[in-house]
């Protein structure tokens, strides 16, 4: 079969919406478009509300939660903000708020904001594969209000041991939030077996629509809403629920299969193996079952990532880089640096995110394109002079 272009391997950031998801969504844009209503509404309101609650049930079931523990939001970033600021502000206390050095910016910046409000943010270190150092974390948790530790890292694919981390939180009696966006539907998670109080879930990373997400809030956890308005979502989030997107989100959750995950794992390992055939290339993050099924991240020494990204784009291969030149702040990847990687390793790092539709042919194409770019750029690099 001829390969379809573009070869899109930027799935850690955004995914293509599944056509079956779109089909489901259209109905709630064109037929049942009323505001999801209460007990005394007209029948279209009720139908919309029914769809909303059905979606809530599906998502709750996926993580072993009760439907009333699922709050719909505008996505990952809002869920993280609501989880972190909402619980800390509702606690009425001032004190430590804990996270790790490899979190994504909505978590890190929420902590920064809390720091300005008089709280004490602290970031736990990670090891060379990106696993949070539990000894340090445990120490930091003493007397803390809340901690937020991501489930899966989007850049280097590290899957944290949420069970063990949850136990640390329980021991220290600290509220535990986890951004599970990159692990949701890829790694099993059951809130009945893990001591986690708040869990961020995202739709846009699992072939659902963007701009919608959810926050699991364990029964009994108090949250202060971030926005004011007529109460919706159990009083935690005003604003009309985006029924089409929520329905699409729930559909996307249903569509991911064990076979998809097994295939992605196989292709991930294949891609890793062939990329590491390129000389002076280093794998970032762990191998095997402790790495998410769809993430590959390698550093090419002597080459800068923005150049790789643009040259790959010319060949219709889309990926992401941890290089400073590419970031708006001109800063290198904080994740690679936190794992003890050098600046050069960070600038030369590329993230390849697979999807359930990624093919072996695409994997080989990616390798071929990257190998050529790396060879070309090393030939003019002052850092990489082979004698």
């Amino acid at each position: 079969m001829p390969m379809k272009f573009p070869v899109y391997l930027d799935n850690m950031r955004a995914t293509k919406v599944d056509p079956l998801v779109i089909e489901e969504m259209v109905k709630y844009m064109q037929e049942i478009y009323a505001a999801p209503g209460g007990e005394f509404g007209h029948s279209m309101e009720e139908e919309a509300a029914e769809a909303l609650e059905k979606a809530r049930q599906k998502i709750a079931r996926k993580i072993g939660a009760k439907p009333e523990e699922i709050v719909f939001t505008s996505g990952r970033v809002e869920s993280n903000n609501l989880a972190i600021k909402g619980t800390v502000l509702a606690s009425g206390k001032k004190g430590k708020v804990i996270s790790s050095r490899i979190e994504e910016s909505s978590v890190l910046r929420s902590l920064e904001s809390l720091g300005k409000m008089g709280f004490n943010p602290m970031l736990a270190p990670v090891d060379s594969e990106g696993f949070v150092k539990q000894e340090n974390l445990s120490e930091m948790l003493s007397g803390a209000i809340l901690g937020s530790i991501q489930f899966v890292n989007p850049e280097i694919g590290t899957i944290q041991d949420l069970k063990a981390i949850g136990d640390l939180f329980e021991e220290k009696n600290v509220i535990f939030h986890s951004d599970a966006s990159w692990g949701f539907c890829k790694v099993d998670i059951d809130v009945r077996k893990i001591n986690v109080d708040l869990l961020t879930l995202s739709s846009g990373l699992i072939h659902g629509p963007k701009g919608v997400g959810a926050l699991y809030v364990r029964e009994g956890i108090k949250l202060q809403p971030l926005f004011d308005g007529a109460p919706r979502e159990f009083g935690l989030r005003p604003g009309m629920e985006d029924v089409p997107s929520i329905v699409g989100f729930a559909k996307a959750v249903e569509l991911i299969t064990e076979e998809d995950i097994a295939r992605m794992k196989r292709l991930r390992d294949k891609l890793m193996d062939i990329l590491l055939e390129i000389p002076d290339t280093k794998l970032n993050g762990p191998k095997g079952d402790r790495r998410v099924c769809n993430n590959v991240n390698v550093s090419f020494f002597g080459v800068e990532g923005e150049t790789i990204l643009l040259k790959a784009s010319m060949k219709n291969l889309f990926l992401n880089t941890g290089s400073a030149c590419y970031s708006r702040e001109l800063l290198p990847s904080h994740v690679i640096l936190a794992t003890g990687g050098s600046f050069e390793q960070s600038h030369g790092s590329v993230t390849l995110g697979l999807s359930k539709w990624t093919t072996e042919q695409e994997i080989f194409y990616a390798k071929e394109v990257l190998e050529e770019i790396v060879r070309e750029m090393r030939s003019i690099s002052p850092l990489y002079r082979r004698s």
């Binding site: 800068e304 923005e306 150049t307 219709n316 708006r328 600046f343 003019i380």
Partner: protein, 215 residues
């Protein structure tokens, strides 16, 4: 220039002109020069922005040949490529006058966030010329010269040169020995990186260099 279908949109988004892309995809005067009279490395591995300039100067003090190596982004490559075109065949005096603005202009513009690349290519050119003049004995190896080279060394956390960042505490030159004192701790990764880059900047000069860090 061939750009695969759809790719042009990307350049618009990142704000690169077609000329920038042309020089990025087909850099002029690129590669190591074996018979160079002088070479100069400026920039920082830590910033992901580094170039090495090679010059061959003829008897009438004109730039007979110029080439470069690059470790950096598209605009690093494009600005340096255009710079080499602009000064090739020019006298050293003329070349010294080239400004980063002329490079930006020649490329038909550059995103403001990438201006530092044009500045770096000028720093590479000027330090190479300065080193040549010192090697030929036409210019004294003095504090002024040392500061010129230090302007090509970047602080990785800001991307600005260490002189304008106020990180150079003092410079003194006596009998071919250079003492540089930096206002930096000396303990952290960044100080180590900057120290290594200063040593790079003086590569090829017959001097004894002593870089002191505040410890």
């Amino acid at each position: 220039m061939e750009i695969a279908g759809g790719a042009k949109e990307l350049w618009k988004r990142v704000g690169y002109t077609e000329k920038v892309i042309d020089h990025f995809m087909n850099p002029r005067n690129v590669g190591e020069m074996k018979d160079a009279d002088v070479s100069s490395t400026v920039g920082s591995v830590a910033c992901g922005d580094m170039i090495k300039i090679f010059l061959k100067i003829d008897e009438s003090d004109r730039i007979e040949k110029i080439s470069f190596l690059s470790y950096g982004c598209a605009s690093n490559i494009a600005t340096t490529s255009v710079m080499t075109e602009l000064v090739k065949g020019k006298s050293l005096e003329e070349a010294k006058k080239l400004s980063f603005k002329e490079i930006v202009e020649e490329l038909g513009g550059l995103p403001a966030i990438k201006y530092h690349c044009a500045v770096l290519s000028i720093a590479g050119l000027r330090t190479a010329i300065a080193k040549y003049e010192v090697k030929k004995g036409r210019r004294p190896l003095d504090e002024d010269f040392v500061m010129t080279l230090l302007k090509g060394v970047l602080d990785p956390m800001t991307g600005r040169d260490i002189v304008s960042m106020g990180k150079v505490k003092s410079v003194s030159v006596h009998d071919g020995a250079i003492d540089i004192e930096l206002d930096m701790s000396g303990e952290d990764e960044i100080s180590k990186v900057i120290r290594a880059e200063i040593l790079d900047a003086f590569e090829g000069l017959d001097v004894s260099l002593n870089v002191k860090l505040k410890s």
